[in-house]
Symmetry: C5
Subunit: 304 residues, 5 copies
């Protein structure tokens, strides 16, 4: 049985629109996510540099020793690093629409991909341990209990610098500058959460999926009638070509599908671990520390 | 009777342009709306955190007790939560061009959809009751009488922090920072109102609708002539395909139509209730409250 | 006589590009214009709210009575409303390339459309009378004589708040915040003027018009040859289809053409009068006035 | 000799992409250039208004007379007008890739077009004379000798207001606000220079040109084979159609080509002279001058 | 052997989408990179101009001589120039996905292109030597040892201006303004690094490459069947056309490929060396130096 090519090509127009739309929007989401993390890098460097230079004894009511002053600065910078890793951790918690949360086969494949070409490649330890390195113990326990730990870490920073302002270790100008950076961090965090928590609207995603399905279902009937013109043998020749075209269109659909959520922990995601480490290195170098950790290196061509 | 395919395909070009245009712009409106509410989240966190840390007795002319000070902060933060729910409520009031305001069948279907897969899923109470929780009684009655309550709530905040500045609970820097956040809230509110009150221009929406209608009307005549080539039986075979294609194109048109207005209270809208609650939780945790409400959970896969 | 379809379809590609381009850019101009007026709303609310809260006697060299203080605030807010209506008025002055300035028939039709479905629907009075309500008499006469009245109104505001600063009714922080809002208003005004005074570049608009003309001229010859295949009767059948397609393409061209200039005073324009009134209401409510004007209501489905 | 249509249509796809790309990007460059000059207008108004209102005797160490004070303000505002004309002048210096710098015929035609429908229409005098009107003589000679005069004019402004700050004619708030406007001017200048000095990348422009050339070269062979189906006479009929299509595609290519560089001094460019004059008028009216120059009027439908 | 055109044209749709996507995104990356460097220019001018005008003796605790003051300013401005060249240098370090890092032939050709039409055209010396010109010796050695030298140079600037603030050579307003410029520089640096370190996602680039490959592989079979209609001789005629089309599509693919990474050191890149020199000239002229270096001139039509 065969059908004319025309109805297939009309449906093809709808497929082309939605698959193209999905690819474009998925890329935009990915690229916006990367921009947000880029902005996190920039704000982090500004935070480290300003904290280091701004807090001084000069006008303080009860000046601190040099070591105490350094400890205050280090606490503010280390807590910032804690915020970074916390944010990364919160963004990796699966949402119901990500591949890992789907049924059966998809979840299984995704689990294997995460392990072999995703976050699983790096044994980056439990978040509690990481926070333990950068936060005092009691503070860690208190902060980790909140519903949104990252939010409350910044709230703690706000509170700390307000105290430094009260005790005149900061003047009004510097205080507001630092607070401005903290508010920027709230912006970056909120933007990353927006991309994580608001998927590509389901009506668009589903249209792409369904229309591609219909197209692929009808394709063989149309191909047969075309290849039949080559003679009887043509029908058999049509099979590899049909398979090839199906593969191309399913690939297009899947590229959109896997780029859509840039915080899934898979190989095409934003390399958050690597970016956190880049910042950690820059900040520790600013503090003049001796033990600078190594940058994250790509494993099997995958950077996380 | 049958007609050649050519004139249909030329009209198809116009259909493709406008349906694609409508889908793209509708998505842009939806995504911008989500960005605006994301910005509301970020500004809200900054507001809570700064209010908590900024207001101090140190330079005040007549210092308050710790409890009074806390009460002042809590009032400012609770009034902000009142603003959130008020804004949501104002954005849900139907406009004349939304589906609920249309005639007969469309309105009926929309009402059912709102109840079963939209705002109706959540018994979120009357706005008066919600405001009663977050505003003093007399203030609530006064504010609710204004034509645009949300605008006047922020005006009240402006007035309050100006008074705190006068009495030196805030210095000039902090005052202007807080005022800056309030002005940002005016921006967010105005942007959300812009999307609500300025629909996709009717000339574009109507072109999409009319051209799709013409296309679907002409489609069967063109399909018959194509399928006729398969023999007499072909004409009958054309029927399911015509129906399928019509379904695809009507679906495309409807996807644009229902994404266009992201504050209608239907299942594809911005989940404003959920976002209000997220902020409420963060702010109450900042205040150290004991009774933290639960986050809004998706019902039937719909998050409002 | 008939010609093959091919050359027509190649020209059709050029038509599709330019008509699509024109529609897209015209929509972008319209939407940007709406965003600018949305920003005017936001800045206006911030202006009203800040003026009301900021100006105080506390540090003033020669304090005013409560009534005098209120009068000062009211003058600043009323002058702002005057700026709004002036800006609207300036944006409605026709430019040489708008439809009202064209020859003969187009101008006549446009005049009728303006009267029946445009600005003519609202008897909004002469701008002099409106300004008389919001400005002192001598100031009105002076300001109206300038080449760009709106610019000089803001200059007057700048001058007034600088004086308030000198006399210490404002501190430096508040002064700069208010000045910042005035500079934002210059931005909004300049952006609106940019859209008004820089049309869609003529080379693009003309290409769209000319190529559509060529396409429509050649269309019948191509259609005849296609329909001729249905038999002799086919040539006659081609007529209604040719007319339909021409209508579709002329409609597309016109949609772009009439969306292009969003400040012409026609039905698809930015509803500036309505927005001015919305702001007027909000500001008067902030001032606690008793006689709040009604919002502008749509007439015949048209909101100006 | 004739060839099948297919290979031509495949190349046509590449042509469509690059010609469309070039048109879109050229328009974006033009529109961004207009936005930048719009921002220059806005910043200029803010500069004039703020300079006029900010500089006061009140806290000055050695107060000036009213006339001296006015002279200081006028100098700052006039020097700004000098900057405007200097910027325009610098942007009109031809780059190696503009039409005027090309060989033989193109340069000759461009020179004629500049004279008849471009900058040549306005005898706007030598830049030295214009600067002579707005700058003191010694300053003019010094500034004009720099490699980038516009940059150094703003540097001079920076220096002047810093001095006014030192002598307490400005407080810290006002000083920083004025400096902020100067930094914005650096931004606007740099953005305009970016568009001037970084053409549409050659690889894209060349692809558009070459592919269009191949397409137009192959077109006649394809057209002949199509028209041949109409009978022997058809071959001759194909000639006018081939010419028409070539004209359409060359026009498309040229529209992109001439919109690409918006500061060439040709008729479709940004009307910089007119914008400079608009600002000059606004600023002179702010200064209360008596001799306000006329606005630039369009000549032969061309506004420069 | 020959196959029908249809399956090839369906794959052609996928090719068109991805090749077009790659070209568009590559251009966006290139243009964003140019914008970032444009912003570097603007911030650099502001830095030079503000440093020169802001630092004064007036309120200083222990005033410096004029020469000492000038030396301080010169150090800050020269260190900024060092930052520029350092940033350029860091952006030119090859990443694993750039052409120079690929295997065999591609790397060899790229090396030759870099030498003949890329960075190799300019003997711009070792970065150590350049830094030696603009930094004190001990500082140079210390800064160059950091993992990210550019970051730490700005940290040094932050530290220096904080010291100047402490010693009251700067007031609070000016200090924060200068710090704001430094934070902007962190933004620019981070944005450039984002483009350098986050390539066009591999899933998109690979799809473009693979689908083009399949298309080009199938093309001859389809062309033969088309040209065969011209008679037996036609098969031979199809060869040059097939080659031509392959060349067009490979060119399209390569244009995207080479525009994608705008900091590779090849001829279509951002002319960073030239921009660094432009800034160096402006800043040295601001300092009133006598030996102003020449601007970089294009060699063989290539500006680096």
């Amino acid at each position: 049985m065969s059908i004319p090519w025309l109805p297939i090509s009309i449906i093809g127009t709808a497929v082309a629109f939605y698959v193209g739309f999905k690819n474009n929007q998925a890329y935009d989401r990915l690229w916006e996510a990367r921009k947000i993390w880029g902005a996190v890098v920039n704000s982090s460097r500004a935070w480290g540099s300003c904290v280091k230079a701004f807090i001084i004894n000069k006008h303080a009511e009860s000046p601190m020793s040099e070591d105490e002053l350094f400890a205050v600065k280090k606490k503010l910078i280390y807590r910032h690093i804690a915020w970074l890793y916390t944010l990364r951790n919160q963004l990796l918690i699966p949402t119901p629409w990500e591949h890992i949360s789907q049924n059966g086969l998809v979840a299984m494949v995704t689990r294997r991909r995460m392990k072999e070409t995703g976050v699983g490649l790096y044994d980056d330890g439990q978040i509690e341990n990481i926070l333990g390195e950068f936060l005092p113990l009691d503070e860690k326990d208190r902060l980790i209990a909140y519903q949104n730990t990252a939010t409350q870490i910044i709230d703690q920073q706000t509170s700390d610098i307000a105290n430094l302002r009260d005790e005149e270790f900061l003047d009004g100008f510097k205080h507001i500058k630092l607070q401005g950076i903290l508010n920027d961090l709230y912006d970056h965090q909120g933007k990353a959460e927006r991309i994580k928590k608001f998927p590509l609207p389901r009506q668009y995603g589903a249209a792409s999926f369904i229309f591609t399905g219909i197209f692929i279902f009808l394709l063989p009937f149309g191909m047969v009638s075309e290849f039949h013109k080559l003679g009887e043998f043509g029908s058999w020749v049509s099979i590899p070509f049909t398979v090839l075209i199906c593969w191309v269109y399913i690939t297009m659909e899947l590229i959109g599908d896997y780029s859509e959520n840039p915080f899934e922990g898979l190989s095409n995601d934003i390399p958050m671990l690597s970016l956190c480490r880049v910042i950690e290195i820059d900040l520790k170098e600013m503090l003049g520390e001796e033990h600078i950790p190594e940058g994250i290196k790509a494993k099997n061509g995958v950077l996380m």
